[in-house]
Structures are given as structure tokens and as C-alpha cells.
Amino acid sequence: MKTDELITALSMSVEPVDRRLVNRSVGIALAIGTVVALGLVLTGLGVRADLSTPRAVTFLFLKLAFALGTVGAASVYLTRLARPGGERRISLGLAAIPFAAIMLLAAVSLGQAPSAHWDKMVMGNEWLECLLSIPIIAIVPFAVVIWAVRKAAPTNLVRAGAFSGLVAGGVSAVAYAFHCTDDSLPFVALWYGGTRLCCARSPARYWDRGCCVGE
């Protein structure tokens, strides 16, 4: 087929397109992922029992702020990465700000505490549960987010995969914060932050080139 014939065929009936489709798909995927993650934590793990104490509420909000901050920044970038050439318009530095902030707060709080408490502050009671729960809860949100991104046309698949993982990990951390009873900044920085970065790292490596522009 000649290129001119192809162009003629493609110009036969031109429908108006929905420019908001990409953003809407990612938004819907985020909403579905959040509902599933919250459902898993509330039914499977249960809300922490001590939510009546002010300290617990403070830390719940702190964890939520950290998780939502990363989800917000990462999902704005994800809607850009889902479009061709979007990788030009993201800065990894801006996405790293919430991580840098929580690390800084953790360092300050470690500096103020006696070193005998450090082990307890960093490892908490449930570090293994946190380490396993966040990636496991993130599986469904990740699948939904990837589905939405693949419907668009990402041209840098590694970055798009990494940010999908970051968003899914953030959604999962939001949900897990309702269950987690370890209230210390170093714990949140290490185990929430660390597992989130793992969520971003692994799909970036395994997302193959099966997803093509124009499919």
C-alpha cells in the first residue's frame, strides 16, 4: 500500500478525540487501586486499635501526608509519561522531594533521641510485616495503573513503569498506614520509603517492550 493511499484511508472519517482520556484513565485507575488497597487492609489486617490516642492520630496523618505527597507528584508525572515524549517533561528531583523530606525528619528525630533507642526506632515492632505488606497490597493497584498507562502511548517504558510502581506503592502505603502501629519517623522513612522505591525499581526492570505505541 502506498503511503498516500494510507493517508486517504485514514482521513475518510475523522472523529473528534477526547484529549482528557489519558488523565481520566489514570485517575480512574488510581481510584480503583485505592479502593482495592483500602479494602484489603480494612478487611484483611484491620484498623489499628489505638486510634483514639492523639499520638496515633498524629502519626497516621504524617504517614498519610508522606504517602499522598508521593502519589500526587508521581501521578502528575505518570500522566505525562503516558504520552509520547512525556519523559522530556519530568524531573526526578521533584518526585524525590517527599522522600528527601521524610529522610531529613527521620535524621532530626534520630539526632534528638538517645542512641540506645535507635534500634527500636528504626526497626519498630513490625518491620517485616511492613516490608512484605506494602508490595503485596500494591499488586492490584499496580496492575490497574499499568493497564491505564498502556492504553495511552508511553515512549519511555522504563520510566513509565517506574512511576507506575511508585504510584501503586504510594496507594498501598496510604492503605497500610491505617493498620501500622509503628510510630517513629525513622521507621516510616526506612520501611515506607524503602519499599516504595522497591515498588518503583522492579517493574522498571521487568516491563518489557511488549507495549507499543499505536497498538
Binding site: 500500500m1 503511503t3 498516500d4 494510507l6 493517508i7 486517504t8 485514514l10 482521513s11 475518510m12 472519517s13 475523522v14 472523529e15 473528534p16 478525540v17 477526547d18 484529549r19 482520556l21 489519558v22 505525562r80 503516558a82 504520552r83 509520547p84 515524549g85 512525556g86 519523559e87 522530556r88 517533561r89 495511552a152 502511548a153 515512549t155 517492550r209 507499543c212 505505541v213 499505536g214
Partner: protein
């Protein structure tokens, strides 16, 4: 912002709103840019115009199908470039993988055809041969260049068969030394 960018962007916005004429004009103009882009890229990897045209069509189709992913707040050129480049990388990957699919052939196939490169280089050897003693020249030319058997070469050069073999052996060594000397700076 260049005029091309502005014109193409105006066409794209109209095409996103469902203007068929603008869509056609957009694809026609972009296909010309894409053709030039792919030809220059593929020429570097030693591939021809037919492959470039396939790629133009793939990219035109992708632009048509994915035009909703273009964000009007951004310039159009980087968006088109990202699609074109993605298709190019995809094509180069595909064709590199298919290089492993070489058809099964016989060992003889490698010598089944000859071309002028062999002929040209034999002239050079004949010139070098002139620097050798006459019996070596005759033996090497008969066996190595003209393809005669040892017995036929012995008859042609008026030597014994073992004499031919020795002449070839010594002559080739001398030739190698001559070539080595010539290629030295």
C-alpha cells in the same frame, strides 16, 4: 517557535476536533518529514528506501491512532519525534533479532559464487609474483591462480611434481614476506 511547528500544531488541533481536511493535510506533511527522517537514519545502518517507507506508514498510523495523547499545552514537534523515534527503535530491534534467522545452507555455498574482488586482487599478486624467481612464478601462477593440478603445472613449467610443490611452498613464503614489507609504513 518556528512556522512549521505553528502550522503543524494548528493542523493537529483541528484534527483533534474532527476536521478531516486538516487531518489529511497534517498526515501528508508529517509523512514527508518522517520520510526524510527515516531515510537519513536508515542510510546510516545500511538499509534502503523500502524499509523507510514501511516505517513512515507505521508512524503515520500511530499518529492517527494516538492523536488523543497529544497535549495542546505542549509543542507538537517533540510529540511527533517521540513517536517516530519509538517506531525506529522498535524496527531496529526487530530486524536485529531476525538476523539470527539465517537460512540453512551447505558449506559449499560459501565458495559457490565468486565476484570481482577476487579477480582484482589476483592482478596485484601477479605483479608481486614478477619479483620471484621464474620457477616459483610459474608454479604459483599455474596452481594457485589458474587452478591447474600439480601434474599439469609440472608439465607446463617443465619441473618435477615435487619441484612444483617445493617452489610453491618457498614462493608463498617469499610472497608473504614481500606483502608484509609492502604493508609496513
Amino acid at each position: 517557535m518556528t512556522t512549521t511547528e505553528n502550522e503543524l500544531k494548528a493542523l493537529m488541533l483541528a484534527s483533534q476536533d474532527g476536521d478531516a481536511a486538516a487531518h489529511r493535510a497534517l498526515l501528508e506533511r508529517l509523512s514527508r518529514h518522517l520520510r526524510a527522517y527515516y531515510r537519513s537514519k536508515l542510510a546510516r545502518t545500511g538499509r534502503g528506501a523500502a524499509e523507510a517507507e514501511d516505517l513512515v506508514q507505521e508512524a503515520v498510523l500511530a499518529i492517527h491512532l494516538q492523536r488523543h495523547t497529544y497535549d495542546p499545552a505542549q509543542p507538537l514537534t517533540p510529540w511527533v519525534h517521540a513517536v517516530a523515534r519509538y517506531k525506529l527503535i522498535d524496527f531496529l530491534r526487530r530486524t536485529r533479532a531476525s538476523r539470527a534467522d539465517v537460512p540453512i545452507d551447505e558449506a559449499d555455498d560459501i565458495t559457490a559464487h565468486d565476484d570481482n574482488v577476487g579477480a582484482e586482487s589476483s592482478f596485484d599478486v601477479r605483479r608481486l609474483l614478477k619479483q620471484l624467481p621464474a620457477n616459483m612464478q610459474c608454479a604459483i601462477a599455474a596452481v594457485k591462480l589458474d587452478g591447474l593440478s600439480i601434474a599439469e603445472a609440472a608439465r607446463r613449467c617443465g619441473m618435477s611434481e615435487s619441484g612444483v610443490k617445493v617452489s610453491i611452498h618457498r614462493g608463498l613464503k617469499t610472497l608473504a614476506a614481500l606483502i608484509a614489507r609492502r604493508t609496513e609504513p
